[in-house]
């Protein structure tokens, strides 16, 4: 559903047109979740037939249910990647906590980074319902055998980057994640419902940072425009490769893990951002961006997918730095985790 371009400079109205619209979808997914539980799948006999019937009836697969191995593996890969993204994603934004320009901004940013740690924990817990432990997943991340979102391999060079991440990166995450609230795997769908509600705060906070900067001094305005220029294309790339090249998409759609294609979601995001950029008084760095009356959507320049592949493979500006930080924190915390385990063991022995 496309939001109509708005002439208004009222941020409330802008949100009235899109983010709450998306949040309405989160609510609807929550209702559907309850309704699905009541739907009849009794007719199906045998494990595989039951699984197919549940998917067909838009019911939820739960941890106790039989599921194809490849369904389980796909979900573990996707949920783990999502969890890792939350944990690694704390670094680029956390980079500005110590230098936030006011105490209020410092508090908001600190709370946001804390939320991300919380999202990581919900998601690891959802993955654990599939029979893999958080510790195993963390090891896979540290060994470079599981990925996190490539967006976090870009640096946060100015305060405005914190705003741009909130507006664009969290905005893209919401567009991506709202359909996941209807994912066929129950624990993932439920985690996404909760996370989407919190992400909408983050998106709004980011927008508000940029709005303040773009209406501030010349230097602040330049800072805001510079950040949008740097984050626009990496944000478009967050939706993944174009549909023609997307390896996991078809099966995930059939399983109702995924509901829309990469390109559909990317288009939705572009259409949402264009009018918000207008309200911000900032320019999106795409000379070919224009409304297409026939398609009822904006034409836009695709991100550089070769760059996306390079960053995914490890050669983004901050891949090495992010992983080194994660490994260092993990290694330096080992003695603390060992001590906590030793203490718990002693107390258990006393009991």
């Amino acid at each position: 559903m496309l939001a109509k371009p708005s002439e208004s400079c009222n941020t409330v109205e802008v949100y009235g047109n899109d983010i709450p619209g998306l949040l309405g979808e989160v609510e609807a997914a929550e209702t559907a979740l309850r309704e699905a539980a009541a739907r009849d799948t009794e007719a199906a006999h045998g494990e595989a037939a039951y699984f197919d019937a549940v998917i067909k009836a838009d019911q939820k697969i739960e941890p106790r249910d039989w599921m194809p191995d490849s369904y389980r593996k796909t979900l573990i890969r996707q949920i783990a990647q999502h969890a890792h993204s939350e944990i690694i994603g704390m670094q680029p934004e956390g980079n500005w906590i110590s230098r936030a320009p006011t105490l209020k901004r410092k508090a908001i940013l600190l709370a946001k980074v804390q939320d991300e740690a919380g999202h990581g924990l919900y998601l690891y817990a959802a993955a654990e319902t599939l029979g893999v432990s958080r510790d195993e997943l963390v090891e896979l991340l540290l060994a470079g055998r599981q990925k996190y979102s490539s967006i976090f391999n870009y640096p946060t060079l100015t305060w405005a980057d914190v705003g741009a991440i909130g507006w664009l990166v969290d905005g893209a995450a919401i567009v991506n994640q709202v359909p996941l609230c209807r994912c066929s795997y129950g624990p993932y769908a439920r985690a996404m419902i909760r996370i989407c509600k919190e992400e909408s705060f983050h998106q709004r906070q980011g927008f508000e940072i940029l709005h303040t900067l773009s209406h501030g001094t010349e230097a602040q305005r330049a800072m805001a425009q510079g950040a949008v220029d740097r984050w626009w294309y990496p944000s478009l790339a967050m939706f993944g490769p174009p549909d023609a090249d997307s390896t996991h998409s078809a099966q995930s759609m059939a399983w109702k893990i995924k509901r829309f294609s990469n390109d559909e979601l990317r288009q939705r995001f572009v259409d949402m951002c264009v009018q918000q950029a207008g309200v911000l008084g900032l320019t999106l760095p795409d000379p070919d961006l224009r409304w297409n009356e026939e398609r009822q959507a904006y034409d836009y320049t695709q991100p550089d997918y070769d760059e996306l592949m390079r960053v995914i493979k490890g050669d983004g500006p901050c891949n090495r730095q992010r992983m080194a930080h994660r490994r260092r924190s993990h290694d330096e915390g080992a003695w603390v985790r060992e001590a906590a385990a030793a203490y718990a063991k002693k107390r258990a022995a006393d009991a």
């Binding site: 956390g94 006011t102 804390q114 924990l121 001590a339």
Partner: protein
Amino acid sequence: MNVDRLLGFGDDALVAAQRLAEWHASSPEMEEDIALANIALDQLGAARLLLTYAGEVEGRGRDEDALAFLRDDREFRNCLLVELPNGDFATTMAKLLFLSAYQLPLYTKLAGLSGHENAGRLAGPPHRDDAGRLAGPPRREDAGREDASRADAGSAGPPHPEDAGLADSAGPAGPAGGGDAGPAGSGEGERLAAIAAKARKESAYHLDHSAQWTIRLGDGTEESHRRMQDAVDALWPYTHELTSGEVSRDEWLSIVEPVLAEATLDRPADGWAPGGGRSGVHTEHLSYLLGEMQVLHRAHPGARW
């Protein structure tokens, strides 16, 4: 109320928040990332209320940001303990234990409550969930939100009844020194008491959290015991500065000594007692901390953020 004294309370909280926030994405466990951010947010929240109030009492039109970002290190009134580097996790926990064992009785007094109302410390041994992980702390759901919803008039967030009495003083945009919250008369005591009553509940949690870690690490492995003892020994001299004012040494020791005993740690001997923070003579560390904290704000004089 003496402005320097208020600044001392506020600066302790602000500098402690700045140090604790350095742990983001670096803690030994993911649960601890959440806990330390939570505690940093509490300290920051208290700092904002205290500095806003200090600015009003001072009467020179300085708000929380002017006080946080535009004073030099010689004008800060925090104790030396909070500005010391984080060190390892044991050092951070010892700093937090010593600080909260001071802040809890301090806020209790400022709130006009009696000492035995200090929230019961150490409710049993630390608990772990089934997976053997340390159970996480309650997550702070309101910190940034409250500000965000306030900043966006179109979407009024849910009211926070507990904070209602403080809401006017929390925002930097509020009128300075207006209404009955001014420095003169009985309003002063009430205002500080309200801030302290809120902060006191948070301090009780900080004390509990740091005490539990001190015990786990002290009575954990050989390495953790050594690290925890080293941290306690290194920081002990700086605790004398905490107990030279509102909180007596005996009061403070009555909280700290049982924790050290349960943690199988030696209580260090008293001796060297560095001080000077309350009169603006700090360690070498504070200027660097402020240099980082203030850099952006100072680079854009007069800008709104």
